[in-house]
């Protein structure tokens, strides 16, 4: 699949922001005053900014409001609703906490649950697609949720929680890579089933339908960069999990914590790039590609 920068930025930043808002929501003693304002502002900037970025890949962004209409069937529509609900509830919670120093735990927990629901709906947009076997798996929502929780814990300064969650995220990510490599073969789709000609013999793409490229190949048969996938996995894991855990294990200092956050964000961006670039769409079989 084509790793569109707007989608990578959107899922990475909104995942982090919603994770931070989750921890602020369930915190029985959330930071108040100016400190609280800064924490909530970072959360809203990441989550809201990420969601704004998601409209950049639309062909007709001026009609984006219509995406709220089909929540009964569409995960994308459900994501729009949960995101709106999560941000609305958390804005109310943040206003009470920051302006009045008053935390209504029920409101905080509701906002936190809606933040996780938003991350879940985002992940289900990908996990629902049977056409992309690497994504069509329960590990996709699990990965998005653990990543969001770990990143949020890191951003909110929960050192020990962040270390545990980062380790869990790393394990889920490693397993997703390993298992994901086999899912296309397990899906049962191949050139024989795509063309129905497998009963005659071995099918090979002889001539494509056009001399140049097309929308389908640009969007769904992205093979550029896959050859460096193994190296990028090592880089992603190192930046996303290993380095932040090492930095957090050092005696606490704001500089180390800041570096851990930057490293984590960079690692998530690399991992998310791989999430798209490595994902094979079954339409590739019609072109003799993966």
């Amino acid at each position: 699949m084509h790793p569109a920068p707007s989608i990578i930025a959107f899922t990475t930043l909104s995942g982090l922001g919603l994770g931070l808002l989750f921890w602020l929501g369930i915190d029985p003693t959330p930071p108040t005053g100016w400190v609280g304002a800064v924490f909530f502002a970072i959360g809203f900037a990441l989550a809201g900014g990420g969601l704004m970025l998601s409209t950049f890949h639309l062909g007709r962004p001026e009609r984006a409001i219509r995406a709220f209409s089909q929540w009964r069937t569409s995960w994308l529509s459900r994501e729009a609703w949960t995101a709106l609900a999560a941000l609305s509830v958390m804005v109310l919670h943040a206003a009470l906490v920051v302006l009045f120093g008053f935390s209504l735990s029920l409101l905080g927990w509701l906002g936190a649950a809606l933040c996780l629901a938003t991350v879940f709906t985002t992940s289900m947009i990908y996990a629902q697609l049977r056409t992309v076997p690497r994504w069509h798996h329960w590990s996709t929502p699990l990965l998005f949720l653990t990543l969001s929780l770990a990143g949020g814990a890191l951003l909110s300064g929960r050192v020990s929680v962040a270390m545990v969650l980062l380790a869990i995220t790393g394990a889920v990510q490693l397993w997703s890579w390993r298992d994901g490599d086999e899912r296309l073969a397990r899906s049962g789709s191949d050139m024989a089933s795509a063309t129905g000609l497998g009963g005659i013999g071995t099918v090979r793409a002889f001539e494509p339908p056009h001399t140049g490229t097309n929308y389908l190949m640009r969007e769904m048969v992205h093979v550029v960069g896959r050859k460096h996938a193994q190296k990028l996995r090592v880089i992603a894991m190192g930046l996303m999990v290993v380095l932040p855990v090492v930095l957090l294990a050092l005696p606490f200092g704001h500089a180390w914590a800041g570096l851990a956050v930057l490293s984590h964000v960079a690692g998530v961006i690399v991992a998310r790039w791989l999430f798209f670039a490595e994902a094979e769409h079954v339409v590739g079989f019609y072109y003799g590609k993966r």
């Binding site: 007709r60 209409s69 992309v132 063309t195 494509p208 339409v283």
Partner: protein
């Protein structure tokens, strides 16, 4: 709502004969022509006369080589457009309701004025039947020429999808696949029509007819063949002398 109808009164669709298709791409051209000049946003091209031309097509013809265990490889031309699936995943993923399946005839359509161009329906389609138009920013797909098949302004023989009407080989058939007595349904039963990627669970309405078995090389008895066998294995006379003389020269194949 982009929920699918529980059932449709008719299941209009195509039957494509892989035995007959000659790969001329006439259906591709007529489809592009009709759907650019008529309903909806035109099918745009980008850099059409330049070095890197691309464009939107609703119908494309692939060609595949199939190598049997024995005998020569076989070549098949493979037209592919929207299969108007009964369980169309492209419809349910649509966040705006632009994508829908008609209850009366099963045609899957896009309401272009409600499409936000998110591209998720194209991701959900296993067949590559949907393409986002780069100029218009909305999703384009086969309409089964809904503006031809019900069009009273056209002569009756033209009330067919443009691809079917134009096919010079008769490789494309249009009809109601929900009616077991229709011509297309009988054709599917007679020829063993099949679904593309049945494991994707989309239940496509369009069917493909398999190629008929090709003639083999082995086991063929031609009564005249023995008379065509070579009568002289070794050259004689002038050719024999020439063969020996040239072979004796330096660089020849004799020692």
């Amino acid at each position: 709502m982009t929920s699918l109808p529980a059932s449709t009164e008719r299941k209009l669709g195509l039957v494509i004969d892989l035995d007959t298709c000659v790969g001329c791409h006439a259906c591709v051209v007529s489809c592009k022509g009709w759907n650019t000049e008529n309903y909806g946003a035109p099918l745009s091209d980008q850099d059409p006369y330049g070095a890197d031309p691309t464009g939107t097509f609703l119908n494309r013809v692939h060609s595949y080589e199939v190598q049997p265990e024995t005998g020569p490889a076989q070549l098949f031309h493979f037209p592919k457009s929207c299969l108007h699936c009964e369980d169309a995943p492209c419809v349910t993923v649509c966040p705006t309701g632009a994508s829908y399946k008609r209850a009366e005839d099963g045609i899957v359509l896009v309401n272009e004025s409600a499409c936000i161009g998110c591209g998720l329906c194209a991701w959900a389609c296993p067949y590559g039947a949907r393409e986002l138009d780069a100029a218009e920013g909305v999703m384009k797909k086969c309409t089964l020429c809904v503006d031809r098949i019900y069009n009273d302004n056209l002569p009756e023989e033209d009330r067919l999808p443009a691809c079917v009407r134009t096919c010079p080989a008769g490789a494309r058939h249009f009809g109601d696949l929900g009616d077991p007595d229709s011509d297309v349904s009988r054709l599917v039963v007679e020829r063993g029509g099949f679904d593309l990627m049945p494991e994707q669970g989309t239940k496509p309405v369009n069917k493909y007819l398999p190629p008929r078995p090709k003639d083999g090389w082995e086991g063929q008895v031609d009564v005249l063949a023995p008379f065509l066998a070579p009568v002289a294995e070794e050259p004689k006379g002038f050719l024999g002398w020439l063969d020996r003389a040239l072979g004796a020269l330096p660089g020849g194949d004799r020692p």
